[in-house]
């Protein structure tokens, strides 16, 4: 069974997701010891070539899979500590991973998820066809709200599609087709499950799909480990071989902390961008 990591990256004018994916993919390859493939679009490939990163991309990724660029259907406010910038958010094609992945067992990660340990290697042989994180783990520990656990006040459990591992088979095909169906009928599902549909979220679609496929029950099946997350109100202070130094936001102040040898999801894209070369040095 061929196993590997898949990352999606579609650049917009504000955020260089491709460069982020280079760092993220390089770290995944280094720490998990498996091949990594990139799913991207022609304009992002052109940008990689223009930025002289194409050779690096060919070294890092086993395959670079060119797909149609998702439409700019939604704008999102990307927070950067106390500042923010609004940009298109192209996250609507994750359900196509089942068709696109070159692997039998795939770990799909977000390009802002950086792997610094081999902890996820324990899950390749797990007998579950699909594993998704069920828990958000705030780096500071105490900033988890109800909507980080459930899709709405009255809705089902939210899943964290930041790390998804699956085997390519008929069961998972049904799952990803259902995710696509939910995405295509997002408003209808928002009426049924009572969630805020102003911005498309894979976490919500994955949560509902799993709820439906488990017989409309909350399951206690195998899951990926909780996603250690740094919310976008936090800042990256420095990145070096001693770890990632973060400024985590409190009510009126910031707390400095250091994360080392942990897989980490950094939601502040601008903060990653400011330190992306340092992330690349760690590959």
């Amino acid at each position: 069974m061929k196993k590997g990591v898949v990352i999606f990256a579609h650049n917009n004018r504000q955020i260089d997701y491709a460069k982020m994916a280079l760092a993220s993919g390089g770290l995944a390859k280094k720490h998990l010891g498996v091949p990594v493939s990139l799913i991207t679009d022609q304009s992002t490939v052109d940008w990689l070539k223009e930025s002289n990163l194409w050779d690096k991309a060919l070294q890092t990724f086993e395959q670079i899979i060119d797909v149609e660029r998702p439409a700019d259907l939604q704008q999102r406010k990307f927070k950067d500590g106390k500042e923010s910038v609004t940009a298109p958010f192209k996250n609507s094609n994750r359900s196509s991973v089942w068709d696109l992945t070159p692997y039998d067992r795939t770990l799909m990660i977000d390009c802002d998820y950086f792997i610094f340990s081999d902890a996820l290697n324990e899950y390749w042989e797990c007998e579950s066809d699909i594993l998704i994180s069920t828990k958000y783990n705030d780096v500071q520990g105490n900033r988890i709200g109800y909507l980080d656990k459930y899709i709405s006040d009255t809705g089902v459990r939210l899943l964290w599609a930041t790390t998804v591992m699956f085997t390519k088979n008929e069961n998972t095909k049904v799952f990803f087709e259902l995710v696509k169906h939910i995405k295509d009928n997002y408003k209808k599902f928002a009426d049924i499950f009572r969630f805020d549909n102003r911005m498309y979220r894979n976490d919500i679609s994955f949560g509902i799909a799993r709820h439906i496929l488990y017989g409309f029950e909350t399951d206690n099946d195998y899951a990926m480990p909780p996603v250690l997350s740094v919310p976008d109100m936090d800042l990256v202070y420095d990145v070096n071989e001693n770890g990632i130094q973060l400024l985590t936001s409190n009510a009126n102040d910031y707390t400095l902390c250091n994360i080392k040898d942990r897989d980490i999801h950094i939601m502040n894209k601008q903060a990653i961008t400011r330190h992306i070369d340092k992330f690349m040095e760690l590959v």
Binding site: S117, L228, N258, R262
Partner: protein, 115 residues
């Protein structure tokens, strides 16, 4: 600002950083003590170590079924090999925990905690 209050705020900052460092270290070790085998996921803890050792002591060391974290039955063909793997993992993870915990304990400022 009065010096006493300034010192208290400095100490408060130190405690906040200390709390995050301890939390993330504990989680790192928990991840190291998660062990995938034969399709199951095991949490390496004293219960599992004792249970496996007891089975071997009772001459039940081949084709043994052990319940994993999800209470699913997992067949372990060679329990001695399984025991050796989880013991190795347990000792290396707890030693690392001890070493890093001592470093944190001895750090008396935010700067030393994050260095």
């Amino acid at each position: 600002m009065q010096n006493e209050y300034k010192d208290a705020l400095e100490f408060s900052k130190y405690r906040q950083t200390l709390s995050v460092q301890r939390k993330t270290l504990k989680e790192k070790i928990e991840a190291r003590l998660t062990y995938g085998k034969n399709g199951g996921i095991f949490k390496i803890d004293r219960d599992l170590l004792n249970f496996v050792e007891m089975l071997i002591y009772k001459d039940r060391s081949e084709n043994v079924v052990i319940l994993d974290v999800n209470e699913n039955p997992i067949l372990v063909e060679n329990l001695v090999e399984f025991r050796d793997e989880i013991f190795d993992r347990y000792f290396s993870a707890t030693f690392e925990y001890h070493e890093e915990y001592q470093k944190i304990k001895k750090s008396r400022s935010v700067e030393t905690l994050v260095s």
